[in-house]
């Protein structure tokens, strides 16, 4: 549909609109103080085979590293800087990181899935190792000594045995290009950089493994750190989008008179089903978006009207795809011959990412070129989606990363950058779009609901002989480069059925001779966009599957009157790291060996403990939860969580601990409080009252056991430890009361219902 715009007034807005706070050279990118210039490929991308693309050394010896991985609040950039400083042998405080600018960095894949340390770490380490090798060659010539006789310390190369012969990195190459080629094959996360260069032995690490303080943190404490929300560019206007109230409706009419009285409003923009307003001031844009009278069409389809309808939809809709990560033995035969069989089903609701700062982006579209300032987890994805919606080449789009609010997968879907691009193109000036709280709660793509059905059987030896796990879940249809919200509204059709919500944490950690794990992908069959869009939410799918598998294991252990840790360990003999991780948590928690539930308590407050363990992407986490609950109100209080964690080599122990604490708290929040509510028209959890999250008064004590494995590659810590938390809490509730929670979150109402189901008086 052709763009239609309605102009309300046009002032000389480009003159003197707001003071300049940050300004950027739009095109072409420059390397500031460095003489070096990037080598760009025909696609507009930086050449990964040029060593100068990865780092630059200034005359004072300080080093700037370039990466497309971004800081999303998890400490990734500090950890990557440690890895590179270590490999290059420069002091950590001489390192600067430039990240997430598509015109200055190499595409190394999005910052998702706890894979940045695991994947980008080796890429950057090898680039640094290659640079160190080049520097040694230069020094050999300069100092007249063979490379074998040279040693490096703190960015200074010296001749072994002759301390007078030395030269610093800055003296060797400061401000100049390396002009050296390195090998780089593959792309994104799979990019292999200089694999032939020998890197340091981890036992010689001095910077990796240290609890170094986060680089960007001081500015965050004083208002000096520029978040995406804080970006202002000259001549910038303020936009707001007016979202439809229900599924895939379109504006039938727009009444400009409804906002004509608001001073400084400049334009109403309509393109297809997309409607927005632009004003000189932010407050005017807010008022206009609230007041604009739009008559929307009636939706042709209604969504499921409540959670029962939703779970029926998951169970009864034909899957678009079936994944079978585990399929071994003969389940039918095993169930027939088994001593005893069990089955249960578990429900997990839609949950939000819940960014404290709603989406915000600035775009400046000039002809067929665009600059976008935004906080995506994948800046190159934003480049692609903005190029697609503007119908311009990707190389004409520059995305400059500024951190958003902690996003946990939300910013894999950079909807707001598209909104800003459409409005900027319409008005012919840079436009900043800030989503409202209602927009964010209502239209953020959400972590999808899951229905998990599990069957298992026990043999004569009291061990599992059969395990049959089916996860009915929804693929992510709003993630990565699939059309985003505004794209769908302007008529760009979905181009794929969505990404997988994962298959792990479904009991595969246990050795069971006959075992099948299936993930059914159930797509929405409604016209896009719908308010319950789906995307990756921290440890996608895993907390729900772990809730089902680890509670089910607990149910069986309880039926057999076996201690829950002991029962798990029976099946972990072949999984040394899993077994050790579980033991570490149990030991730290001073786990008392006995079956659950414990004998009924006489008072109104019941106490319980529960455990859960998981393996994800080769990392392990186990949690022991201790809870207190009020038997008459059903309110559960988590008193303490002990979490053990094995993510291979630890790059920054304090950073890992910070991640684990955050995972535990978010896990408690999702287990106890979080459920997106909706009706047939859309989401009804539109603020923090209707979608509560954990508050300070709900915070448990947290104890952490870090298991370091220096002989292993470093793995991510952003996700594994959230996974076992809800299951451990549910198992603790069972331990306290004998009541089994099979649906999250564990609200007082659900707890009371579960107690009633087992005949406990409240």
């Amino acid at each position: 549909m052709k763009m239609k715009t309605v102009e309300l007034s046009r002032r000389q807005f480009l003159k003197g609109a707001g003071a300049l706070v940050v300004s950027f050279n739009l095109f072409p990118p420059s390397r500031g103080v460095f003489a070096a210039q990037f080598t760009t490929l025909p696609s507009g991308d930086i050449d990964p085979q040029s060593l100068d693309s990865w780092l630059a050394i200034s005359p004072d010896g300080s080093v700037t590293f370039y990466t497309s991985k971004v800081e999303i609040g998890t400490g990734t950039i500090t950890a990557l800087a440690q890895i590179m400083a270590e490999e290059l042998d420069v002091p950590f405080d001489r390192v600067k990181m430039v990240y997430g600018d598509t015109s200055q960095t190499i595409e190394q894949g999005s910052t998702v899935g706890s894979r940045s340390i695991e994947r980008a770490g080796p890429q950057l380490r090898q680039a640094a190792a290659a640079a160190r090798q080049e520097l040694l060659k230069l020094a050999a010539t300069r100092l007249g000594a063979p490379v074998e006789r040279l040693a490096v310390q703190n960015g200074v190369i010296s001749v072994t045995g002759d301390a007078t012969k030395k030269v610093s990195y800055g003296e060797l190459i400061g401000g100049k290009r390396f002009n050296a080629k390195i090998t780089a094959t593959g792309s994104g996360n799979d990019l292999k950089v200089a694999p032939e260069v020998k890197a340091k032995n981890p036992k010689d690490y001095k910077i990796v493994g240290q609890p170094i303080k986060r680089m960007e943190l001081p500015g965050k404490l004083t208002g000096e750190h520029i978040y995406a929300h804080d970006v202002r560019v000259p001549g910038m206007l303020h936009g707001r989008v007016v979202r439809p109230p229900v599924v895939n409706t379109e504006p039938l009419s727009i009444d400009p008179d409804s906002i004509r009285h608001i001073p400084s409003v400049m334009m109403i923009v309509r393109e297809g089903k997309f409607v927005g307003v632009v004003a000189e001031t932010e407050w005017a844009a807010i008022k206009a978006a609230r007041a604009l009278k739009v008559t929307w069409s009636q939706p042709t389809t209604k969504m499921p009207a409540n959670s029962d309808e939703l779970f029926a939809y998951l169970k009864n809709t034909k899957p678009t795809r079936t994944l079978k990560p585990v399929d071994k033995g003969n389940l039918a035969e095993a169930f027939t011959k088994a001593k005893k069989s069990y089955q249960a089903s578990y429900r997990w609701p839609f949950q939000m990412h819940g960014m404290i700062g709603p989406s915000c982006s600035v775009a400046d579209v000039k002809g067929d070129q665009a600059t976008v300032w935004s906080g995506p987890q994948g800046p190159f994805r934003t480049r692609a989606t903005v190029a697609a919606i503007l119908k311009i080449p990707e190389k004409n789009v520059r995305v400059i990363y500024h951190e958003a609010s902690g996003s946990y997968g939300r910013m894999s879907t950079d909807d707001c950058a598209e909104d800003a691009a459409l409005l900027s193109r319409a008005v012919g000036a840079p436009v900043r779009v800030q989503w409202s709280r209602r927009d964010e709660h209502g239209w953020e793509p959400k972590g999808p609901a899951q229905l998990d059905e599990v069957k298992a059987a026990i043999g004569d030896d009291g061990k599992l002989v059969a395990w049959d796990f089916v996860d009915y879940g929804q693929p992510w249809t709003a993630s990565g480069s699939t059309p985003l919200l505004a794209s769908l509204q302007v008529g760009i059709a979905p181009n794929n059925p969505g990404g997988s919500n994962g298959t792990q944490s479904a009991g595969e950690i246990y050795a069971v001779p006959n075992q099948k794990i299936v993930a059914e992908h159930i797509n929405w069959h409604f016209p896009e966009p719908i308010p319950l869009r789906t995307s990756n939410l921290r440890a996608p799918g895993d907390p729900a599957r772990c809730f089902a598998s680890e509670c089910f294991i607990d149910e069986i252990a309880a039926d057999l009157r076996v201690d829950p840790v002991e029962f798990r360990q029976r099946h972990l003999a072949e999984n040394k790291r899993g077994s050790e991780c579980l033991k570490a948590a149990a030991d730290k928690a001073q786990w008392e060996k006995r079956p659950s539930p414990q004998p009924p308590s006489s008072g109104n407050i019941a106490k319980g403990r529960g455990v859960a363990v998981t393996q994800r992407a080769n990392a392990y986490a186990a949690a022991v939860a201790e809870i207190e609950m009020n038997k008459s109100t059903g309110k559960v209080v988590v008193k303490r969580i002990v979490c053990s964690h094995d993510c291979g080599l630890i790059v920054n122990p304090d950073g890992v601990s910070n991640q684990i604490e955050g995972n535990v708290i978010q896990g408690v929040s999702r287990a106890l409080f979080e459920e997106v509510t909706f009706d047939a028209n859309g989401v009804t959890s539109l603020d923090w009252k209707s979608y509560p999250i954990l508050k300070f008064t709900d915070v448990p004590e947290i104890e952490i056991v870090l298991i370091n494995r220096p002989e292993m590659p470093a793995l991510g810590a952003g996700e594994p430890s959230i996974i076992p938390v809800p299951a451990a809490i549910a198992n603790a509730i069972f331990d306290a009361t004998g009541a089994r929670l099979r649906e999250a979150p564990f609200t007082p109402q659900r707890v009371l219902a579960a107690m009633k189901a087992v005949g406990q008086k409240s």
Binding site: P218, T222, H229, I356, E661, G662, D687, T697
Partner: protein
Amino acid sequence: MARISLKVNGQARVVDTDPETPLLYVLRNDLQLNGPKFGCDLAQCGACTVIVDGKAIRSCVTPVTAVQKGAITTLEGLGSTKNMHRLQQAFVDEQAIQCGYCINGMIMSAKALLDANPRPTDSQIKEALAGNLCRCGTHVRILRAVKRASGQKV
């Protein structure tokens, strides 16, 4: 539009704005003070907290005209990276941040608390911050940082 005089971080400032404008937007857009953050416009999350006459308030729901007579303090009024306030320094020492979007509210709420109650108990700190949401789960460190800033053992 109206000319409105304010006292922000000890300085007299004059802005020309719609008198209905919430203080948050005046601070951020007219005065370029990025410390206070937009979170909800509903006084539900605390990201926008500033201190007016010693009291922590939600600037997202406070019309700018309501604070013309008050002394407004924002995060920038506490200190800078070169000269940090003890609360800010305590947050560095405890590494009490993940994304940091909520941190303005945490520090400003804590500042108002410590000014009124220099040695709060753990539960008093929790109560004082209960209206400030943090999605990253940095709560334990934030509690330690506030306690450290109050000179108590952590």
